[in-house]
């Protein structure tokens, strides 16, 4: 695996759209070619070379390419978007849309990420060492294709509306979450180690939400069924199982309706 290191030399005045910072775009390119890749700032068409010092070179394919970002990337959007393989490591916080529509590979952000990150993710591994904003792993505004696959792990807290329209994959939050979890979900699994504010699983058709801490207020569309023992992310515990959202449309499997499930640690 070959490594490309991008060091921020100039902070953008507005926000820099870094959709080209992915192993897929970098693959097969040398530092000077990478410096020529376009990056928008507002309506201005600029290049990555204007904002980053670029060292090293990419591997022949995305899978053989590692990208390391140094310096403050908190005004950089779209890092790692649509990546299919390889590795991206960001040593700071990032802005919106980081890791959106990821299909594979590994993306590590050592700081916080802003909202709309990991949108529509299909595969790969996305690790956020700080906190995440709203709409993590959700669908793009208006779309119905939220997180489909892969895994997102957040070491800190997350904002609201996470995993809206989730269809698959797994989100693990080690801290707390705000309102609206898995709204409209039709699959997937969300683990929250801390507490959740409220409105978990509204209009959920299918999928699982596992909460270790407390839920501020359970939605009225959920019904307690039984207690179950589960092993979640390496921890064995006893959980209360709730099914719902009872007011929503539910598909049938072998004649029995399929419900979304909330597991609340006892």
């Amino acid at each position: 695996m070959k490594t490309v290191t991008l060091t921020v030399k100039q902070a953008p005045e507005l926000y820099l759209e870094c959709e080209n910072i992915t192993p897929d775009t970098f693959a097969g390119k040398k530092a000077d070619e990478i410096a020529q890749l376009p990056a928008y700032q507002g309506k201005e068409d600029t290049t990555l070379g204007e904002y980053f010092t670029i060292a090293g070179e990419a591997g022949a394919t995305a899978a053989e390419t590692q990208i390391i970002l140094k310096g403050d990337c908190s005004k950089m959007k779209y890092i790692g978007i649509k990546m299919t393989a390889g590795e991206v490591i960001v040593n700071s916080s990032t802005d919106m849309y980081t890791g959106g529509w990821m299909k594979g590979g590994k993306l590590v952000v050592k700081g916080d990420v802003h909202s709309f990150c990991g949108l529509g993710m299909e595969g790969g591994e996305f690790i956020i060492e700080g906190n995440a904003g709203n709409y993590l792993g959700a669908s793009y505004r208006g779309d119905w294709r939220g997180m489909q696959g892969g895994i997102i792990r957040v070491k800190g807290n997350v904002g609201s509306d996470i995993c809206t329209f989730m269809n698959g994959g797994e989100l693990i939050v080690e801290g707390n979450a705000d309102v609206h979890i898995a709204t409209h979900a039709e699959g997937g699994k969300i683990v929250i180690k801390g507490n959740v504010n409220r409105r978990v699983g509204g209009q959920m058709v299918k999928g699982e939400v596992i909460v270790f801490g407390k839920i501020g207020l359970m939605m009225p569309g959920y019904k307690y069924t039984k207690d179950v023992d589960l092993e979640v992310d390496g921890t064995k515990a006893n959980f209360a199982e709730y099914v719902g959202d009872l007011g929503e449309r539910h598909p049938k499997r072998k004649g029995e309706p399929v419900y979304g499930k909330i597991f609340l640690k006892k």
Partner: protein, 570 residues
């Protein structure tokens, strides 16, 4: 204005019966002229190895107005990743199935289109339609106000008051700057306000006690009474349901006994639109099958009908129609999202995103039906190519539809690519059809035919001296047709040149000029009618949310009009 002489190209013009012969085309002052009329300063365009046709005419698309904008509002995902500007003179082009007005204009022009008909204008929101039309660059446009569920019309036709209905239609065309009579699910959309629908031509509309058949016949009589350039333009009852082809045949048969009466050379009394959605056999989605042959056997025989196909392009798209009940039904089938608008006394609309997936058998069959309709058509001057944009697919896919029509090889490749190709083949006739549409037939289906059907055949749709200089030159050589069908799609995706009103607007697939876009509308003069004037006043006082004085579209909304005057006082 500039003069041009286009040399050495292969000309395809059904108006003059030119089938690919090499002929020079001369352009002067926005018109096609005899070559002898040019001065020595005429610029030469070398079209060697290229095909020349008139500018193409879109007969049915949803490209402007509240319904399209509702789609844009609630489908931001349709514009995802389209926010960057490309180099050149064009503005940002956003959207795939519901493009911005700019993308709409540019895309049509790049494919060689110079005219588009907005297929459903709610009269109350006509101002919005005209604002968007005005902002769409290059192409000429017109809009058809929807009448098929209008309260005035329902009341007049219930008592068979053709003269009153005609006065009302004339008034509406004038108020809305509309082009002709559009009918969507006649009676059914109004019935839906009562929680019902009209699924056959004989289902009565609640309260109004009139049947779709009576509405359609009454509107044919109204149209011919007025002598409008276009005939009635109908989206029939029971769209999109298995087994609906019988309802379609019942609808088409309503033309029997009527004759076109107009001064525009139009021969048909009915234009049946997006027939693909109306040519379904079977009685459920399991035994769903093509009835394209049954429909086309009738259309081929009945010369008083023109039609367009409504080809499914196998894309993710946004369906939108004034057929409110159908959209509600569709939303229940695909569970994505549904939006609805009610337009007071006039009409309604629904919007639902839809994915025509090649992995779904029904979508494959729909794809086949659309192509079969065009391939069964004996008279290409009466069968036009559309995708009912964006309902069966975005209009930007026309080059792909043309590829499928012109190449059996391309069709076979698509059939093979279907997940359940054996089921698609079993339910359709597409695999047995060898016909390949020729460039000459294509010129009829996309130029001369639509122009004649819209009553614009005198000035548009051909390359005869005296006609408007809307000319498309394609990189396709009839003496050396490409063996790879992809080359056909490529050639029709970007014209070598597009002349609009004698001005080069697109060159090598790139927009170079915004042209002089115009809004076509029909101004009909009728005898003063006190009854209708009274009814309009009363309805506005009683029911409308706007004042009568705020209803009409002011001239400033269509600052570049092309007004077609019709005198119906005789």
């Amino acid at each position: 204005m500039s003069e041009y002489i286009i040399r050495n190209g292969h000309v395809f013009d059904p108006v003059q019966g030119i089938k690919g012969d090499k002929k020079d085309i001369a352009v002067k002052d926005g018109k096609i002229v005899e070559t002898s009329a040019l001065s020595a300063s005429a610029k030469q365009i070398d079209a060697k190895g290229k095909s020349i046709m008139a500018g193409a005419m879109e007969v049915h698309a949803h490209v402007a107005g509240p319904k399209v904008n509702l789609g844009r509002w609630y489908r931001p995902e349709d514009k995802l990743f389209d926010s960057h500007k490309t180099p050149g003179m064009t503005r940002i082009e956003g959207g795939k199935s519901i493009p911005t007005v700019f993308k709409t204009g540019y895309s049509y022009a790049r494919m060689g289109y110079t005219f588009a008909m907005e297929a459903a204008m709610p009269p109350l929101y006509a101002r919005h339609v005209h604002e968007e039309i005005h902002d769409t660059p290059i192409i000429d446009e017109a809009a058809l106000p929807v009448f098929g569920n209008n309260w005035f019309m329902l009341e007049y036709l219930k008592n068979h008051e053709i003269e009153n209905n005609a006065a009302y239609v004339a008034w509406t065309l004038n108020q809305t700057k509309g082009y002709g009579i559009k009918i969507v699910n006649p009676g059914g959309t109004e019935a839906w306000a009562w929680g019902l629908n009209c699924l056959t031509v004989n289902d009565p509309v609640p309260y109004f006690e009139i049947t779709p058949a009576e509405i359609i016949k009454g509107l044919i009589e109204t149209n011919e009474y007025l002598g409008l350039p276009h005939s009635i333009h109908i989206h029939g009852n029971n769209l999109g349901n298995p087994g609906n082809y019988n309802v379609t045949l019942d609808t088409l048969k309503l033309v029997e006994g009527y004759k076109a009466k107009n001064n525009f050379g139009r021969k048909q009394v009915m234009h049946a639109t997006h027939v693909q959605f109306h040519a379904y056999g079977g009685d459920n989605w399991g035994n769903f099958e093509s009835k394209a042959k049954e429909i086309m056997d009738y259309v081929n025989m009945e010369k008083s009908i023109t039609m367009d196909t409504g080809n499914v392009t196998l894309d993710e798209t946004t369906t939108m129609t004034a057929d409110g009940p159908f959209e509600h039904h569709l939303g229940g089938l695909n569970h994505l999202k549904w939006a609805n608008v009610d337009v007071e006394l006039e009409t309604a609309a629904g919007v639902v995103p839809y994915i025509y997936s090649p992995n779904i058998t029904v979508c494959g069959i729909q794809w086949a039906i659309g192509l079969e309709l065009a391939l069964y058509a004996k008279d290409p001057m009466r069968c036009f190519i559309t995708t009912d944009h964006p309902n069966a697919g975005p209009f930007t896919r026309y080059p792909r539809v043309i590829k499928w029509l012109m190449s059996k090889k391309a069709r076979d490749a698509q059939i093979k690519a279907f997940k359940n190709s054996d089921k698609v083949v079993a339910a359709t006739n597409i695999a047995t059809m060898d016909r390949e549409i020729t460039l000459y037939e294509l010129a009829a289906m996309t130029r001369a035919g639509p122009a004649a059907s819209l009553g614009l055949g005198k000035d548009y749709g051909g390359l005869k001296p005296g006609m408007n200089a809307d000319i498309a030159i394609y990189n396709i050589n009839p003496d050396n047709m490409p063996s790879d069908p992809e080359e056909i799609e490529k050639a029709f995706s970007g014209v070598a040149y597009l002349f609009k009103d004698g001005k080069i607007c697109v060159k090598d697939g790139t927009v170079v000029d915004n042209g002089n876009k115009r809004t076509f509308w029909v101004d009909v003069k009728v005898k003063p009618n006190k009854q209708v004037a009274h009814d309009v006043k009363e309805k506005f006082l009683k029911y409308y949310s706007v004042n009568e004085g705020n209803y009409p579209v002011p001239d400033s909304f269509a600052p570049h009009p092309y007004v077609i005057a019709v005198d119906a006082t005789q």
